[in-house]
Symmetry: C2
Subunit: 327 residues, 2 copies
C-alpha cells in the first residue's frame, strides 16, 4: 500500500514515518511507498520494501496538493499545520494552510473519485474554557484560538466528506504531546515538556505557571500509537461522528514534578526554577484539563498509563533508557 503523510517533517510526522518504515506494514498490508510532504525535505531513507516520494511545498498551493494525491495513495495521514502560536500571530497564514490547505486536500481526494482512508490530526485546542471537568465526548467545540477554529472546521469537513462517501475519515484530537524532544521553544505549552526534558539533561527549566495547573498529555509514542490504531481499525463502528478526543493522562504540574522526582530524583527537580509569567498563565487558564475520552477508549485507542510512564517513554526513546541526570 501507499501512504501519504502531510507534515512528515514535524515531530509527530517524523516519528510516524520511522514507525511505518520499521514496521513495514499496516495490519497485513505491506507498505510499498510513502509520499512524504512538508515545507522542508524529509530526511527519511527508503528501506528494502518501502520507497519514498518526497514532496516539498505549501498546502495552501492547490497545485502542490494535487500532486500529493495524483497517485491515489491508499491512506492519507494529514498532520501538516501552522501551529497554534503562529496561526494566532499570522491570521492569514494560519487560514491559508490550516483552513484552505485542509479543504484543498479533501477536495483533491474527492475529485480523484476513490475512497482512501484519511486520518486527520486535530487537537484538544478545539476546546476553550469554561467547561466541565472532565469534558464529556458530546461537549461542543469552543475554540479560543484561530488554530483551534481551523482544526474544528477540518473536523466538520472530515465528517461531511466521509458521510458523502468521498473518503473514509477519522479525526484524532491529540492531547498536548509531552515530553517533546528537542530544544525549549516559545510555544505557550512548551513548559510542560521543558520542565521534564531539560532537568533530565541536567539543564535548568523555567516554570511559568502555578503547580495547580492541570492539563491533558500523551507521549509522542502514544501519539504515534493513535495514528497506527486509526490506520488499522475498522472504521464502520465509529458512525457519523468521526472525530474523537484521544485518551490521555490528566496531570497537574505538581503531579508532573512528583513523577520526575520518582524517576530521576531530587537532583532533577531542583533544576526547575519557578518564574511566574502572567501572560502564559492567562493563556493556559483557558485550556482543557481533563476529558472522558470514552468513545476513543471504547474504540481501542490507548493512553500512557501515568505521567511517570510518559517520562520513562521519553528516557527510553530519546536517551536510550538512561538520562544524563541519572548518572
Amino acid at each position: 500500500m501507499h501512504i501519504l503523510i502531510t507534515g512528515a517533517a514535524g515531530m509527530v510526522g517524523r516519528k510516524i514515518t520511522e514507525r511505518l518504515l520499521s514496521d513495514g506494514h499496516i495490519g497485513k498490508r505491506e507498505i510499498a511507498k510513502l509520499t512524504l510532504h512538508d515545507i522542508v525535505p524529509s530526511d527519511a531513507k527508503p528501506t528494502e520494501n518501502t520507497s519514498i516520494r518526497p514532496i516539498v511545498g505549501d498546502l495552501s498551493d492547490r497545485s502542490v496538493v494535487d500532486r500529493l494525491v495524483s497517485e491515489k495513495p491508499d491512506m492519507v495521514m494529514h498532520l501538516a499545520a501552522i501551529v497554534s502560536g503562529e496561526a494566532e500571530a499570522d491570521f492569514e497564514k494560519g487560514y491559508a494552510v490550516n483552513f484552505d490547505g485542509t479543504r484543498h486536500l479533501f477536495e483533491a481526494i474527492r475529485l480523484q473519485h476513490y475512497e482512501p482512508r484519511v486520518i486527520y490530526a486535530s487537537s484538544i485546542a478545539v476546546f476553550g474554557a469554561p467547561f466541565p471537568e472532565p469534558i464529556p465526548d458530546d461537549f461542543h467545540l469552543t475554540p479560543l484560538t484561530s488554530y483551534g477554529t481551523q482544526k474544528a472546521v477540518g473536523e466538520l469537513l472530515l465528517n461531511d466528506y466521509t458521510r458523502r462517501g468521498f473518503f473514509d475519515g477519522i479525526g484524532i484530537r491529540l492531547p498536548t504531546v509531552c515530553v517533546r524532544p528537542g530544544k525549549p521553544n516559545k510555544a505557550a505549552s512548551g513548559f510542560f515538556s521543558n520542565i521534564i526534558r531539560e532537568p533530565l539533561k541536567g539543564e535548568e527549566a523555567l516554570l511559568p505557571v502555578p503547580d495547580t495547573v492541570r492539563h491533558w498529555h500523551a507521549s509522542p509514542r502514544a501519539a504515534v500509537g493513535f495514528f497506527m490504531h486509526a490506520a488499522e481499525m475498522d472504521l464502520a463502528p465509529v458512525g457519523p461522528r468521526r472525530c474523537l478526543t484521544m485518551p490521555g493522562v490528566a496531570a497537574t504540574v505538581a503531579e508532573q514534578i512528583e513523577a520526575l522526582r520518582k524517576v530521576a530524583g531530587e537532583k532533577a527537580v531542583k533544576l526547575i526554577r519557578r518564574e511566574p509569567d502572567p501572560v502564559i498563565a492567562g493563556i493556559v487558564s483557558g485550556w482543557p484539563t481533563a476529558f472522558e475520552a470514552k468513545r476513543a477508549r471504547d474504540l481501542g485507542f490507548t493512553a500512557d498509563e501515568s505521567f511517570e510512564a510518559i517520562i520513562r517513554v521519553h528516557i527510553e526513546d530519546e536517551h536510550g533508557g538512561h538520562a544524563p541526570i541519572m548518572d
Copy 2:
C-alpha cells in the same frame, strides 16, 4: 445607519426588510439605507427616510461580495444560503455559496478594517441525531447534511472573527420556520407548514410522517423578532460563544393538528390527508426535537407562546386575521 441584508429576497429576508422599512430605525438609530442583496432583484421600495441599494449576484463571486461591503454598512444581516435540500443535491454549489460565500463576506469585512455588527442566520440543522431531549446549549454540533456542516463552519468563523475584533458577530440558530407562506414546496420540512397553511385556505395537504414526530418551530414573525433583537441588544454579555440556539415551540404533529382544530375547526383538520412517505420519515427522524435554548432566553430572545399562537400569527400576517376555511 446603513444595513446590508444578504438573501434579502428570501422569505425571512423579505419580512426583515419590510420590518426595517416600516420601523425606520434600530433602537434610536435611523435607518438611512438598506443594501439588499440576492440572486434575484428585491421588490422592496424605498421610503421617505430609507434609500435602497439593490445588488444582484452570487456570494461565491468575491467581486460581488466586495461590492456589498464597499460602503462599510454599519450592520450586516447574512441570510443568503443554498437551502438544505439543494446543498445536499449539489455538493459544489452548496459549498460555493454557503461555505466560500460566507468566508468571502467575513473576509471582505475584515479587509475593510471597521467593526460592524454581523448577524448570521444559522440553523438547527447543525444538529443531527442522536441527541438528548431537550438538547442543552453545550451539546456538540453534529450536522448530518452538507448544509448543516456549512452553517456550522460559518458559526466557527463568526466566533473567531469576533474574537479577533474584525467584527462584532452574533449567530442565530433558527428553528424550522412555520407556517411558511406561499406554495407547498418539496423541502423535506415542507409538510410542517403545508398541513396548516393549505387547510386554512380550504385546500388539502399531505402528511408524510407519523403524528408522533416532534420538532422545533418558530413563526416567521418570531424569526424576524430574533434578528431585530440581535440588531438592538448589547453583545458584550454574550461572551466568546456567539452562536445561540433560538427559543422555539416544541410540538408533535399531533399537537400541531390539535392546535389547528382549536383555531379553525374540524373542517380544516379533515383536509389533512395521511400519505406515509418512508423517505421523508427517515430524513425527519434525524432532526432535533426540542432544545433548552436557555442562553438565548436569558439574553432576551423570545419564542412564540404556543403552536396555536404560531397559527394565529400566520392568519394575522397572511390572511388579515381571517382564513378562508373560517368562513
